[in-house]
């Protein structure tokens, strides 16, 4: 794999409740509550299949979701990927995702 691999805690350790298009998460290992928006819950779901680097994570998400690559700010047409990588960094900072 290129780049670091990431992993997320199993579903049994993270209670998720959807409200108004947002997701409330209770992360049992830390006792912390988080409020996240898409694609954060989807990233966590994809990482629960096993450790993955950024490229593998995006491949898994592409297999499940129709990613919108039409971000006009991105010359390469990779707007969704950039957003996923940014969210991945935030989830790691929040302790919901960690290096495998």
């Amino acid at each position: 794999m290129a780049g670091p691999a990431y992993i997320a805690d199993p579903e049994s350790a993270v209670r998720a409740v959807a409200v108004d298009g947002l997701t409330l998460l209770f992360h049992a290992p830390s006792g912390m509550t988080h409020i996240v928006a898409a694609p954060a819950p989807e990233i966590l779901g994809a990482l629960r299949e096993g450790a993955a680097d950024a490229a593998e994570l995006i491949r898994r998400l592409r297999a499940r979701f129709d990613l919108d690559d039409s971000d006009p700010g991105s010359a390469s047409g990779a707007g969704a990927e950039a957003a996923i990588l940014a969210r991945l960094d935030e989830l790691e900072a929040a302790g919901l995702v960690r290096r495998a």
Binding site: R15, V17, V19, D20, L22, L24, A28, G31, T33, I35
Partner: protein, 288 residues
């Protein structure tokens, strides 16, 4: 402790001990008609002690202590001993309550439907709850809403209502004098006068109610009503809870259950009568 008093308030039993007689006499008068704990066991202990032993007689000053202590719980003049006892009871609840999710909110009930009012200090929730409690609603509590984590029900905690500044005159015009404690001027929060809830609130202090509406009142602006989304309600209620973090997953489940099952509105109101009119409108809509 030289002087002691035990009080049952809703599901919580308090023991208050004091080095002086006067604060407990005032407390016993204010809480006339409240039952003593049935089994003699108490959940929380509040102790009013001299700041230093020699201050018991010389310029006496009350320090609040108990099972849970905040290092900056400031000593009060003995004249404010009643306030110290009340603050001590608040403090023990806020820091020590593990059985219920505690929300800093006022609750009233009518026809089995409970209204939760929460907001920053000065939003008027205490005054509104006190007024509604005299106008056909049952006062469940003006300071803490206790959410039973197993059933999702709200439990009454009808402690004496702490009226501040302008609210004192409003309630003095509404209620007979024998239900008031002494007026305490010059406290850290200005003038304070405690008021005992009415007989119905006391008689039904063990009767739970289903939450039906969460209200975020804000005093001072023209009347306005807006819906509040569940995510915002959740955030506001975590901020209004004194023990959400300590309860862990049980608190999360209880709070998300409350938020998903209960509609929420924010209201602005220019005066108490307008707010009461809005509350009655909401009640009729919920009943329809």
């Amino acid at each position: 402790m030289r002087h002691r008093l035990a009080l049952q308030i809703g599901p919580v039993a308090f023991r208050i001990g004091s080095a002086w007689r006067a604060p407990l006499d005032a407390l016993a008068k204010l809480y006339a008609g409240y039952p003593a704990p049935a089994d003699g066991l108490c959940d929380f202990t509040v102790r009013l002690e001299p700041e230093r032993p020699w201050r018991l007689f010389l310029r006496p000053s009350v320090a609040i202590r108990g099972d849970y202590v905040l290092p900056d719980a400031a000593p009060l003049a003995l004249a404010h001993g009643l306030l110290a006892a009340e603050m001590g009871m608040n403090l023990q609840m806020a820091l020590g309550q593990k059985r219920h999710l505690l929300l800093h909110a006022a609750t009233v009930e009518k026809d089995g439907r409970a209204l939760i009012m929460t907001g920053e200090s000065g939003a008027g929730k205490s005054t509104l709850a006190a007024l509604l409690g005299e106008r056909g609603w049952r006062l469940m509590g003006d300071e803490f809403a206790l959410l039973d984590m197993a059933s999702g029900d709200l439990l009454p905690f009808p402690r004496a209502i702490s009226l501040k500044n302008g609210a004192i005159g409003v309630m003095e015009a509404e209620v007979g004098g024998d239900r008031f404690g002494p007026r305490l001027d010059g406290t850290p929060k200005g003038a304070i006068r405690h008021m005992r809830p009415n007989q119905e609130a006391l008689a039904r202090m063990s009767e739970a109610a289903k939450p039906a509406l969460i209200l975020f009142p804000r005093f001072g602006a023209a009347a306005a009503v807006r819906g509040v989304g569940q995510a915002e309600v959740f955030i506001r209620l975590t901020q209004a809870s004194t023990n959400y973090v300590a309860l862990g997953r049980r608190g999360f489940d209880a709070l998300t259950g409350l938020v998903r099952g209960t509609p929420a509105l924010a209201i602005d109101y220019p005066d108490a009568e307008t707010a009461i009119g809005l509350v009655e409108d909401f009640r009729r809509e919920l009943a329809a």
